[in-house]
């Protein structure tokens, strides 16, 4: 049982990290980025090219993170420009459709140009015992990175002036403007952050399973589901939902079988949305 829960937490942390970048952009800008998985895939590809070019793994990962952040900035400057000109549901719909278009362009081009590429990061060494359960070193490193990332995000949002400014925009855009916070600047910042998180997702995922050229859509869908279950715009909700869904998934996988476990995961997500449309920790609309 402990093994399943630990497995679930490892998976859940991954889910949570997936959702974090998506939920930030939604909470702040009211835009859903369906090309989120593709941002991760592009970053992963850049890391593989860097490694192929002879750059050691750690700097290569750094290049990947910078690429992700740059992609976020690029999105903010181009495709999301017309999106921000709209309000409410029209904004969400337009952002969804435009980024879906971007996702297709990226997916199509990458799978045409580099059909069999993928990123795998091997973490050496045998399994490590935790609470008497042998765990793969790769997934432990990935989980550790995720926890550090979440902790620093929490600190950033709770403790720094910049983080508070971002939260003030999420809370009340008009009010934030009145006290001198520029919402557009905050949005740009959050998109850069979200791009970096997408790249981080790619890197930590690559330590557990290969990140393939065509894997972007799957990343986006899981990020979307976890985001919605946790509550759109809620950062801690993303983490909670990720861990819950991860544990559900690994317990269902061991007791019922892998094919039904995914269905149970999906049904659990659907039920949460139906019972609590605002998500686990979301603000009631």
């Amino acid at each position: 049982m402990t093994a399943y829960v630990l497995d679930g937490i490892v998976l859940g942390l991954q889910f949570g990290l997936l959702a974090a970048g998506l939920t930030l952009v939604y909470g702040l800008g009211g835009a859903l980025n369906l090309a989120y998985g593709q941002m991760a895939v592009i970053s992963a590809m850049v890391v593989t090219f860097a490694i192929d070019a002879g750059i050691p793994a750690l700097p290569a990962v750094g290049i990947g993170l910078v690429t992700g952040a740059a992609l976020g900035l690029f999105f903010d400057l181009t495709i999301l420009r017309p999106v921000y000109r709209r309000q409410g549901e029209a904004r969400v719909l337009l952002s969804l459709l435009l980024t879906l278009g971007v996702a297709f362009i990226v997916d199509g081009y990458l799978s045409w140009r580099y059909p069999f590429r993928g990123l795998t990061l091997h973490i050496g060494g045998g399994p490590v015992n935790i609470l008497g359960v042998p765990m793969r070193r790769g997934s432990l490193v990935a989980s550790a990175i995720t926890i550090v990332a979440f902790a620093s995000l929490f600190l950033f949002f709770r403790r720094t002036a910049l983080g508070r400014a971002v939260r003030s925009v999420i809370e009340d855009e008009e009010g934030a403007r009145l006290v001198g916070v520029d919402p557009h600047l905050m949005l740009r910042l959050i998109l850069v952050l979200s791009g970096g998180l997408a790249a981080l997702v790619a890197v930590t995922r690559a330590m557990v399973t290969p990140v393939t050229v065509t894997g972007g859509f799957e990343i986006t869908v899981f990020a979307l589901i976890v985001t919605v279950v946790g509550g759109l715009g809620s950062f801690s909700g993303a983490l909670l939902a990720g861990i819950l869904l991860g544990i559900i998934n690994s317990i269902a996988a061991s007791y019922i079988g892998t094919f039904l476990s995914l269905i149970i995961l999906l049904v659990a997500a659907a039920l949460t949305i139906v019972i609590r449309p605002s998500g686990l920790l979301g603000v009631r609309e």
Binding site: P82, D172, F259
Partner: protein, 345 residues
């Protein structure tokens, strides 16, 4: 969180461009007859090429899907991202009923359509009861799509899993030949069009338009918004299921990708957006144009995805209302103010 969005109701991307539906009888049948007259000679022109006829058949199936999606999304603003899954419910359940349980093909196709209709109605009922917005409806239906795909893969004993399902009970069926299948599919397109045209001028259509333009006002004016939404979903999903089942039997082989999300839903959204969301003929125009574009690009393989993506972006950035409303307003302004238009330019 979304208080600042509360000012706007409804979505400006959906509808708004649609004129009042005509009440006269010829206006009801003319567009349907026109579409029939244009699409009926296609097999004569394509000749005996099995490949091209297959493409044309798929195009018609997509026209059916797009009409069904239009009835659900275009009329009542419910973003159903499970077009492929609902068509798949029709396709797979009819194929399983006919093949594994020995039911007559026609009965099983009808049962497939009824099944899809009930599933669609249930999804809509849940969304309406919990008053889920456009995005949440989209995500719940997307989750349904994924669940359906996983069920297909998981119950390989019934569905043939990833490699697909060879429908053997259609051996002596006229649907097995490409030309009859084309005309059956075309008949479906025309019937769906007619149903949609009648819907638009019936009291249901009035309710749809009212609730889509302003939900609160419609509710106050006595339109039972919840009921009308479920009606739209029932009708639209029945169309999807019927089309999916018919297509399954005319092809003789179905696999999860026949009804996949990327293969059906995305394409249907693009077709509808291209033709014009909420319009009568938009789905047909979108399906025909998109099928032709896709066939021209067939040699590019994966690069076709790039074209799809670019098309989506261009569509939603520049001709947001879709081709039919844009052309319509162009012709109307040209007809009523010919001189002024010329001089202003």
């Amino acid at each position: 969180m979304s208080d600042r969005f509360a000012m706007t109701t409804g979505t400006s991307l959906v509808g708004g461009a649609e004129r009042r539906a005509s009440r006269s009888l010829p206006a009801l049948f003319l567009p349907v007859l026109g579409v029939g007259a244009v699409l009926a000679p296609v097999p004569l022109w394509l000749g005996d090429s099995r490949v091209l006829m297959g493409v044309a058949l798929l195009g018609l199936a997509f026209a059916c899907y797009t009409i069904g999606f239009n009835v659900i999304f275009g009329s009542t603003g419910q973003l159903f991202l499970c077009v492929g899954a609902l068509a798949g419910v029709g396709g797979y359940s009819s194929a399983i009923l006919a093949d594994r349980f020995g039911m007559p093909v026609m009965v099983s196709i009808l049962l497939g359509a009824v099944g899809a209709s009930l599933v669609g109605g249930l999804l809509s009922w849940i969304a309406v009861r919990r008053s889920l917005g456009v995005i949440f409806t989209g995500i719940v239906t997307l989750i349904f799509s994924l669940t359906f795909q996983n069920l297909l893969l998981g119950r390989g004993d019934l569905t043939g899993g990833e490699s697909g399902f060879l429908i053997s009970s259609r051996a002596d069926l006229f649907l097995g030949e490409l030309k009859p299948a084309y005309y059956v599919m075309l008949a479906l397109v025309l019937i769906f069009l007619l149903i949609h045209a009648i819907l638009r001028r019936s009291h249901l259509g009035w309710g749809f338009r009212a609730l889509r333009d302003n939900e609160v006002a419609a509710e106050l004016a006595g339109v039972d918004v919840a009921r009308y939404r479920v009606y739209a979903a029932l009708i639209g999903a029945a169309m999807l299921g019927l089309a999916g089942a018919t297509y399954a039997f005319s092809r003789g082989r179905i696999s999860p990708t026949t009804f996949g999300f990327a293969q059906v839903d995305v394409v249907v959204v693009v077709m509808l957006a291209f033709g014009g969301i909420g319009t009568l003929l938009g789905p047909i125009l979108g399906a025909v144009v998109f099928t032709i574009i896709d066939e021209i690009l067939i040699d590019f393989g994966q690069l076709r995805l790039v074209a799809h993506g670019a098309l989506i972006i261009i569509l939603f950035l520049w001709i947001q209302r879709g081709l039919i409303p844009t052309l319509g307003s162009f012709f109307r302004s040209a007809r009523f103010h010919p001189r002024r238009k010329r001089w202003r330019r």
